[in-house]
Symmetry: C2
Amino acid sequence: MKIEYEPIGVVRSPFVESEGTPVQPSRAKNAAGAVELLPEFVEGLSDLDGFSHIILLCHMHKTAAYRLKVTPYLDTQPRGLFATRAPSRPNPIGLSVVELVGIEENWLSIRGVDLLDGTPVLDIKPCVGEFDQRTELRTGWLKNARKKTDVADDRFEK
Amino acid sequence: MKIEYEPIGVVRSPFVESEGTPVQPSRAKNAAGAVELLPEFVEGLSDLDGFSHIILLCHMHKTAAYRLKVTPYLDTQPRGLFATRAPSRPNPIGLSVVELVGIEENWLSIRGVDLLDGTPVLDIKPCVGEFDQRTELRTGWLKNARKKTDVADDRFEK
């Protein structure tokens, strides 16, 4: 079964290669960027400006082929791929929760961008506490992650 | 630009049609279900059992064509599609945060399922507070959403 998607827009970001790109929005030190939506979708942005944060689902277009065991940026030993947020995945969809700063026609200004410039955007969703947030999360290996880095390197890049 | 994905597994759920299916995991009253992963991906599940919650990205295969203004299940007036979590979207990717109850080979038992039986799974990610959770979210129209329902109907079904 093949599933076919088409980008609805593109990420504009100061980062042009994996090396040095924040590993997550929370480690992006408020890096400013934008989503440039295709003009045909602008009507769908109504009411979005009431939300402080949005969820971006993106196609991680620069990733190398996946492996099922990977050493994450934040650890020193291999982990099961699905227990990590490594960008190289069977379906390389990235999930980023970013701050929505403002909307001007088809241009969404965002803060906390951890994505490469030119990354195709697949979907934009409002971030909603009741839907997306949980208290008392257990976070396995990440709780005591051994590597204290805020930025990526080229290990998952093609 | 076409992006092609293939399912890595399938959702097993008590819900076989949109009507009556919970609108979100948080309204699913702990409905039990599972992800049946394709056996070839089992190695990627290592270390995942340390996490209490996982993020499922799924292809919402039963959705009708999208419209850019929709009346959400939780409101009585049309809203911009990207300001809603309506399943009919240009790229109909559903995002569900569910509780991970246990893993047995390629079978992930989950709680809080809001997905139809047979939904193709595109990705599984660990849910991590630092990456996915934000304090002080503003949530626009949803803050005062006028419709108090926990379940869907067939408005987005094809």
